[in-house]
Amino acid sequence: MKRAYLDNAATTPILPEVVEAMLPYLRDAYGNPQSLHQWGDEARETIEEARGQVAALIGAQTEEIIFTASGSEANNFAIKGLAQAQQSKGKHIVISAIEHFSVLHSARTLEKWGFEVTEVPVGRHGLVDADEVAKRIREDTILVSIMHANGEVGTIEPIAEIAKATKKTGTLLHTDAVAAAGTIPVDVKELGVDALSLAANQFYGPNGVGALWLKKGTRIIPFVDGGVQEGGRRAGTENVPAIVGMGKAAELAQHDMSSRMTRLSRLRDRLIQGLSSTIDHTILTGHPTQRLPGNASFCIQFIEGEAMLMLLSSKGVAASSGSACTSRALKSSHVLAAMGIPPEIAQGSLLFSFGLENTEGEVDYVLEVLPPIVDRLRQMSPLYAKFLKQQRGGR
């Protein structure tokens, strides 16, 4: 059977070069970077090299990178750590309505700790308006966190504009760039932010490693307490192979950025055009142009996402959905809701996310197998039946 992995937003495969770079550290070079001997020395030098590679990817200085175990941890660290470090100045933070749960739920935790959180709404394409952010900054606002790109709908946010607003008031700005860094050009200086989260598994590096970039001089309270690793800001034995993998993946991403973007956007556009022209009652979600190169996200009306995923999977195609039934908590995507998409339409959410391994052949394969799947589910759907009746009645 044909197989097409079109779920790179969930996790990207690791590039063979990256695995190769990691292997020695899984095998013979097992030292702990904190140790005072040759094994330790080698491990330490290695992670410092990787730190430089990650810094280079985002135009940062090497010593500003703090490795974490995931994008989620980087976001928890940023939100909780920056808020706690600033709380003598105020207890109000601003986030957008479409943040990843690791930001959103960290903000909820802050609320339990006595902070106040304001959510900025987004437009129907998922865009955060810098003016809307500015309006919500108060005297006691100590932190603004707006994601760089949304992995579910692909929209890229105007971070540099938002930074202008936060600079005026001297408010710290964090951006969750997990879906952006390594995928589109991200430069901390051009963005003008104070803190930025990224994760290797979004750009063909391993799972289990992310980073928080923190502008030099920015105070933060540690999230993982313990030893003195990462300059005393993040405790726990360094995950050397994963860090090496992240470094290598960052280097490759930086080098190949523009060719990758060209490739992925070609695949994305081919799918968007093909799908829109073969399947009726389909909505492209997210911004039509200001979107991640590999993101093709839709709502297919009258049917539900999980059922589509199962039938796609039976054809070897991997995708994802923001429908309620596909989530553990049985809640449909807060991102789609924030964009004003009605819940019954959000149920038909379907996301294809492209990666370096994908081909035009795979796009065409989706365009071949998806329409019959949609037809089949619509044939079963009472909503579709009603719609047809209304239409007939209406004429």
């Binding site: 539900e304 999980e306 059922a307 039934c325 049985l330 449909s332 819940p343 044939q379 009472p382 909503l383």
Partner: protein
Amino acid sequence: MPVYSEKVMEHFMNPHNVGEIENADGIGEVGNPVCGDMMTFYIKVDDNRLSDVKFQTFGCGAAIAVSSIVSEMAKGKTLEEARKITPALVAEELEGLPKNKYHCSNLGAQALNKAIDDYLKKLGKEAKTRRRKKDEGA
């Protein structure tokens, strides 16, 4: 995928009794698309027995499989027997359902019951109408 049993997968991939019955004797609609699942059951009753059962379902794999198995279980049963199709029996027949999909088995049984209610209501009305007619004729 959620950890679905083979039976669920079977019924999802090849659901039985999909569709609408024209001039159904009873129709039961439950759930709503806002919550994620919606099922409509159509029944045909002959001699107090479900001679035909069909469904339309908007929802996840479990919802579709539940609809299919409920329609199978119900077909040929008397109304009283069909009333005894509980969510637990449905889940059992499907060789289990993931916890967060239990509500789907509820929906299936509910939709069938609603269709029977609908049939009985109509029957009652008909009976009333007939009685009224008789009364009027009298």
